[in-house]
């Protein structure tokens, strides 16, 4: 961990992309998220850290309304993207998810060809005018996910036949192909080896040029490496949120300090 580098980072000048106020989530009777308020900046990597079951993934899934697919989940509070309330009655979650892409913990490519995996999103959203256009979108997405050179000769091969790291990058390519504005990543490296993790982290660093990236991670080193801002969750509470450098070097809360020094969690 390079502390000097961490302190030099600065994201205070960026605009706010997502603003959440007083978010509460219940799974049935379980109060999973307790009154969380957070501002997520544009063109920044924001990391959510915390022990298992602290609600960081749950909160992430609120941001593109994936919790809607769980029957017992209930979300309260106010989450705005560019000032628009995403839980407004008029919002179609399908349209929202095109704008807020998601990469999951376990690589989950469709059991289709590599090309079809990437082309699926643009196809259903009508982003390509013709085949050549679609080819271009697929190539750009795969290049952005740093996968193009490895798969350009076998685009028609099955996506499930790739290695774990390649599969995860394919999923990232699939997510960026729909031109989202926000990219949510739910522990994207937990199933990957250190080399693949390094590749994905490099990728995240590049992606922040275009997107607001929110990443949930169990690895504090990873949070320190890739993010500019970090939020620490504990038992459903947002304990501390601030510059990554500050959280890791000078935490304000005892619980944060205990967690990053390995005493709880």
């Amino acid at each position: 961990m390079n502390d000097m580098r961490l302190i030099e980072r600065d994201s205070t000048m960026k605009d706010t992309k997502i603003s959440a106020r007083g978010v509460q989530v219940w799974y049935g009777d379980t109060h999973a998220i307790k009154d969380v308020s957070v501002e997520i900046a544009d063109k920044t990597v924001t990391a959510f850290i915390g022990p298992s079951g602290c609600g960081k993934s749950t909160f992430l899934r609120c941001l593109n309304r994936m919790n809607d697919t769980i029957d017992v989940a209930r979300v309260e509070g106010d989450i705005r993207i560019d000032g628009e309330d995403i839980y407004d009655r008029k919002v179609d979650p399908v349209q929202l998810r095109a704008k807020v892409g998601m990469v999951f913990q376990k690589p989950n490519p469709f059991p289709k060809s590599i090309y079809d995996n990437v082309a699926y999103g643009p196809k259903i959203h009508g982003l390509a005018k013709d085949r050549a256009d679609l080819d271009g979108i697929v190539e750009r997405a795969l290049r952005r996910a740093a996968l193009w050179e490895e798969v350009k000769d076998r685009l028609s091969a099955a996506g499930t036949g790739l290695s774990g790291g390649q599969q995860q990058r394919l999923c990232i390519a699939r997510a960026v192909a729909t031109e989202p504005e926000v990219l949510l990543m739910d522990e994207p490296c937990s199933a990957l080896d250190p080399i693949a993790t390094g590749q994905v982290e490099e990728l995240i660093d590049e992606l922040k040029e275009n997107y607001s990236v929110v990443i949930v991670t169990h690895s504090m080193q990873q949070a320190a490496r890739v993010s500019q801002k970090t939020a620490f969750f504990h038992l459903g509470d947002l304990v501390e949120y601030g510059e990554t450098g500050q959280i890791f070097t000078n935490p304000q809360d005892r619980r944060t300090e205990s967690y990053i020094t390995g005493r709880i969690g």
Binding site: R97, G101, I124, C171, R174
Partner: protein
């Protein structure tokens, strides 16, 4: 005995000699393996005995005795007016053809130099099936220009003569049989020596309609196979879309509440309802209330659809459930709607399971007898149903019902035919099950 009983310092023992406990456990394991092996062997033995007995009984149905005769299609008998008008020729019923066959038999015996004491011309002609005159008549009606010529026909032999060559009838039993005499059997033997009487593969068993009690030799499965095929078509067209649509709704879209719980329990219960109950339902609703015709494949198809639906729904839901949720999440994550995620990703992955379930359901429906008895498909049907869709409303039979029907008849020749029909039914079932396995192997995907 528990581990606690060994508290204190355990006696030191070698792992090279098994102790009493281990020996006991190993013996129990070995015994259990033999129980299982015995059960499997008993099952296999029962299957082999069943198949062998059916094959032995039924193989004969596929071979039939034919007698080749030159039948003079005499113009005086068949076309007394002499104008070759098909309508006039049609006026001669098959009874009129009996004399021609009698003449043909007489000529044949003279030609081959066969003379049997105590056998008159009528009795000699009786070794040919009474179906033969109809056979000749159909030929003449189809080819009226042949009247006045002599044509060679392969005529069915009488069922008893056929049974004689298959060993069911002997000279001794013929003495006591009013339907066949030893003289006729001797004639048949002489004809066989001459080469005019042969046994060969009997396509008519597959293509002919059923025949009356007196002529088992002419009975075939044509109408039953066609009726069963029509019903399977109806079941497939109705049960597959309805079943799949219901399963997709229940599995992917329906909210989980008390109401859907009740539906689920009832679908499972429906799968366990005895099939004859569906027959009563079909009789009450489709025939008495809706006024659909009796004995028609449409009613049979509808009843079997009701019976097959739970099977298809249960297997479809199981295969939808087995699609990993990560695929759904991935599709939703790139902004697919619920329906797009189901139809683009989940359904194709579940398709092999759905197809397998459907084919198993169809196979079950194909072998179902009880509900068909109640809706009148047990009737004696000799007319082939028309081509679909009109044919769905014509009377027809079904394979399992035909088997049931033939086992009720007195002549042992029908027992042989019933076994033959079972073989045909089993072949169809085997083909369907093989298809199910092939489809599953072919399209199964791993992730």
């Amino acid at each position: 005995m528990t581990d606690a009983a060994h508290s204190g310092s355990p006696p030191r023992s070698s792992i090279l000699t098994p102790d009493a406990r281990t020996r006991k456990r190993n013996a129990a394991e070995a015994r259990f393996k033999y129980y299982g092996l015995t059960a499997v062997c008993l099952g296999l033995l029962a299957l082999v005995v069943l198949l062998v007995s059916i094959a032995i009984n039924g193989a004969g149905a596929f071979r039939q005795t034919y007698i080749t005769l030159d039948v003079p299609l005499s113009a005086e008998v068949l076309d007394p007016e002499g104008n070759r008008n098909p309508a006039d020729i049609a006026r001669v019923i098959s009874f009129g053809y009996d004399a021609l066959i009698e003449d043909a038999m007489e000529a044949k015996m003279a030609e081959a130099g066969i003379s049997i004491d105590g056998l008159d011309a009528g009795d000699a002609a009786d070794i040919v099936s009474s179906e033969a005159s109809a056979q000749v008549r159909y030929f003449v009606l189809a080819n009226p220009e042949e009247v006045g010529t002599v044509r060679e026909f392969d005529l069915l032999a009488n069922g008893r003569i056929d049974a004689f060559f298959k060993g069911r009838v002997t000279m001794a039993s013929a003495e006591r049989d009013s339907n066949v005499s030893p003289e006729q059997l001797r004639l048949a033997e002489a004809l066989k020596e001459d080469g005019a009487l042969v046994q060969r593969f009997n396509w008519n068993f597959i293509t002919n309609p059923d025949a009356s009690d007196q002529r088992p030799e002419a009975a075939g499965l044509g109408v039953a196979i066609l009726g069963s095929a029509y019903m399977m078509l109806i079941v497939l067209v109705l049960a597959l879309p309805i079943g799949v649509a219901a399963s997709i709704y229940l599995e992917e879209f329906a909210p989980k509440n008390r109401f859907t719980d009740i539906i689920e329990v009832n679908i499972s219960n429906l799968a366990a309802v005895p099939s004859i109950v569906f027959g009563i339902l079909g009789l009450a609703i489709f025939i008495n209330w809706a006024g659909l015709p009796q004995s028609a494949p449409i009613v049979g198809g509808l009843v079997l659809t009701l019976m097959t639906l739970p099977t298809i729904i249960i297997s479809t839901r199981a295969s939808l459930k087995s699609v990993p949720p990560s695929i759904r999440a991935a599709a939703l994550g790139v902004g697919a709607s619920k329906m797009q995620s189901v139809f683009h990703h989940v359904l194709p992955l579940a398709a092999p399971g759905i197809l397998t379930g459907t084919i198993i359901g169809l196979a079950q429906a194909l072998g179902e007898t009880a509900p068909l008895l109640l809706i009148g498909m047990v009737a004696f049907v000799r007319e082939f149903p028309d081509a679909p869709p009109d044919g769905f409303f014509d009377p027809a039979s079904a394979l399992p019902v035909q088997i049931y029907n033939w086992t009720q008849r007195a002549d042992p020749a029908f027992v042989e035919r019933a076994s033959g029909a079972i073989i045909v039914l089993l072949v169809f079932l085997a083909i369907m099950n093989t298809l199910a396995i092939v489809l599953r192997r072919r399209f199964e995907r791993r992730w």
